[in-house]
């Protein structure tokens, strides 16, 4: 860029930029990325909520590490909180009490950290669902979908290890729960538990071990994944919804600089502000009220943070089956939930690959679909969420019982049945709703928008005046693709030789019909149909 032959001295800013460019090549980078376009839609900002809350968690977490002692040495509490004075507790609990009551801003920072963690996970859940329902996981974004899923999954465990660090009675019960689940693993369970806790539960090690996992290992991996996730967003470019001028080959929106930099920067502070306000007014994990962990104590209402509530529910509603053989016990009541837990989460993770196998669609997609235009996928997603939410109900069954004056046993039975039946019902209903919405779109295209104006004709008939849609609206409602269902090849080929069709292929074709076959999508209005109706040949 700059040349040595310049005699006139450039402005200071330019000289600094020149200096940096000579060493970092920022001009090329900026040229390529400054005008990067991002489409505008509120749902595309859900990922940003996650990113910013993650940054807030890191910032507040660093502050907390300055005062937290990850040690299980027993000390006597001598701080200002009267109802615990003289109680024996671990140094971890004691230092968390110190942070909460004596460190300047400590309690606020703790609460920001914890609230941000809950919101981070909730944000990831919603972001993931946005990507799922708009089909934004399709080629070329499957890998990035997996990165995102891994972030959610690791986020759960980072959250869990963090929740366990203060060594309070609630989290200690949670750790004991987890240890119980590990113990239920056949053959190696006891070894795993001994290895993790450095001996019998609770031992004197787990806080220090969870601490390094919580502040170093897990967030380190997450940070790496998050960077990779963002790089891939840049490489793939963002999807956008159908609309005039928007195609599979372009991105319509605003440039990164200056518009998105300003928006994203501002949004960061808005997110920080909202979380800080919540942390300032609402208490979270009040460890002083929970007391220090002691294995001989337990409280009712001992639940994990919401993102583990699903696992809690699985264990709570599972019948306490066990098999005793040759002096060994197989605790199915705990082990089956432990197996179902990753299976349910994994189902959503591998969905993109299953869908592309079923549809046989290997093309690139950069248009975000409207959920109604992919009824089977949308129905599957809603079914999955239903199963997840029903298990959350199971995880909080005691609070449902007390707050709605129900019997906890009935709730447990409800969850047992509807964990299986609920998704099926949700699937059917959602699919019907999607098809209904497709019909409505079709109706809108052909007959226009209902104007709400009732007109009385000379002969006495009442009709509602329909307003035709604008060209842009018409495009939006008809731009989606129409897929043809897959067919099995003819049983014999052209030479009369019997064709061999594998079982998997038969299954694929069957499933494909479930996506695109008759009654699984509503035909888009054709140009002829549109013209015929619009030409004024009357109503119907």
């Amino acid at each position: 860029m700059s040349t040595v032959t310049d005699t006139k001295k450039a402005p200071a800013g330019e000289r600094v930029a020149d200096w940096a460019d000579g060493r970092l090549g920022i001009y090329t980078l900026a040229k390529a990325n400054m005008r990067k376009i991002f489409p505008d839609h509120w749902s595309f900002m859900l990922g940003e909520i996650c990113l910013y809350s993650f940054i807030i968690i890191i910032l507040t977490g660093v502050y907390l590490t300055m005062f937290f002692h990850p040690s299980m040495n027993e000390v006597e509490y001598a701080g200002p909180y009267v109802p615990l004075q003289g109680q024996l507790m671990s140094e971890a609990f004691n230092s968390t009490m110190h942070i909460s009551f004596e460190v300047r801003g400590g309690l606020l920072i703790r609460q920001i950290h914890h609230w941000a963690a809950l919101i981070f996970l909730a944000g990831m859940f919603v972001h993931m669902m946005r990507v799922f329902f708009t089909g934004a996981f399709r080629k070329p974004r499957e890998i990035n979908w997996l990165f995102g899923f891994l972030l959610f999954f690791l986020g759960m465990f980072t959250g869990f290890t963090g929740y366990s660090l203060p060594d309070d009675l609630l989290s200690g019960t949670g750790v004991r729960f987890m240890q119980g689940a590990i113990l239920s693993v056949p053959v190696i369970g006891t070894y795993l538990s001994m290895f993790l806790f450095g001996g019998e539960f609770p031992g004197g090690d787990f806080v220090a071990r969870f601490y390094s996992a919580h502040v170093l290992l897990l967030p380190g991996i997450m940070l790496g994944l998050m960077v990779a996730h963002l790089i891939l967003v840049f490489v793939h470019k963002h999807t956008h919804f159908e609309g005039p001028g928007r195609t599979n080959k372009n991105v319509v929106g605003m440039p990164l600089l200056p518009v998105y930099m300003a928006k994203a920067g501002g949004f960061f502070f808005l997110v920080f502000g909202v979380i800080a306000v919540i942390a300032a007014i609402a208490s979270i994990n009040p460890i002083w009220a929970l007391g220090p962990y002691r294995p001989d104590q337990v409280s009712t209402g001992a639940q994990p943070d919401w993102y583990m509530g699903f696992a809690e529910g699985l264990i709570r509603v599972m019948p306490g089956w066990e098999i005793n053989l040759w002096g060994h016990t197989l605790v199915l009541g705990v082990f089956i939930p432990l197996v179902i837990f990753p299976l349910v989460l994994g189902a959503i993770a591998v969905y993109p690959f299953i869908e592309s196998w079923i549809t046989g669609d290997k093309r690139e997609h950069h248009i975000a679909q409207r959920p109604r235009n992919a009824p089977t996928r949308t129905a599957f997603g809603v079914a999955w969420i239903t199963a997840y939410m029903i298990m959350l109900v199971g995880g909080g069954n005691d609070l449902w019982a007390t707050h709605f004056h129900l019997s906890i046993n009935s709730i447990t039975w409800f969850v047992r049945i509807f964990f299986f039946a609920g998704p099926v019902i949700a699937f059917i209903i959602t699919k019907r709703i999607c098809l209904g919405l497709q019909r409505r779109d079709r109706d809108k295209v052909l007959h226009g928008r209902e104007s709400g104006i009732i007109k009385r004709l000379p002969h006495g008939e009442f009709v509602e005046v329909h307003e035709p849609l604008s060209q842009g609206e018409l495009y939006k409602l008809t731009a989606h693709e129409q897929y043809q269902p897959a067919e099995l090849p003819p049983a014999v080929d052209e030479n009369g030789v019997e064709r061999k069709v594998g079982r998997m292929e038969k299954l694929r074709v069957k499933l494909n019909k479930g996506y695109y076959g008759e009654d699984n999508q509503i035909a888009k209005p054709t140009v002829e149909e549109y013209k015929e109706i619009q030409s004024g040949h009357g109503h119907h």
Binding site: P83, Q87, L107, Q111, W115, L118, L169, L270, I284, A289
Partner: protein
Amino acid sequence: MKKLSARRRHPLAAVVVLLLALAATGGLYAAFAPAGTAKADETAQSLAIEEGKKLYSVGCASCHGTGGQGTTDGPSLVGVGSAAVDFQVGTGRMPAQQPGAQVPRKKVIYTQAEIDQLAAYVASLGAGPITPTEGQYSPDGADIAKGGELFRTNCAQCHNFTGEGGALTHGKYAPSLEGVSPKHLYEAMQTGPQNMPSFPDTTMPEKEKKDIIAYVQAVNSEKADNPGGLKLGGLGPVSEGLFAWIFGLGALIAVAIWVAAHTAKAKKS
């Protein structure tokens, strides 16, 4: 001796042994049982019992029987003691509104004087835990921290960390302890109402009960301070999670929609 052992297989031998055993236990009981009669102010006491009996016939007898012997609708009140009456009637649980999994706390309809009369009558049916005096239950000077430890060991399983209450099986529940007076807390521990186990002085001395009362007062009453802000019911992660979803993520999505709605517009030419 020979005569006796020869008859040990007599058809009536078992009956004789049983009769002898009963006579022995009864005799021993009569000899060692504590004298249950009140000595002080005999006339006032009998007057209270008489008034209590009248109240009892109106408000309690339909379920507990005319003499407190119990019916299919209500348990016997013989031996429950005045403390149980003071708790059940004093917290409005009795008289019960309707049968169900558990009788809830509700508006108290008797005056304290009437409750005392009822208690005196029921206590006269058989000895049981006696209504505590203020010196017994007053939490003044008790060890709050010790009370907390005892609470987490003995009470939190059902009543939650700070006594917010919790669910039991088949629609039963451990009620919230918020706003329960020290006297009623003490009586509940003493008598074990409804599904609660009782903690008599032999298993939990009076001083420990006081410590627990002091703790409950310190963490779950109007006096209790919540350094973290709104306590969201004190129910832990479930209410926190709901709050994070509805007010946390809800607010952030509202903000996102607002930001997206205020986009830079291309100039119209």
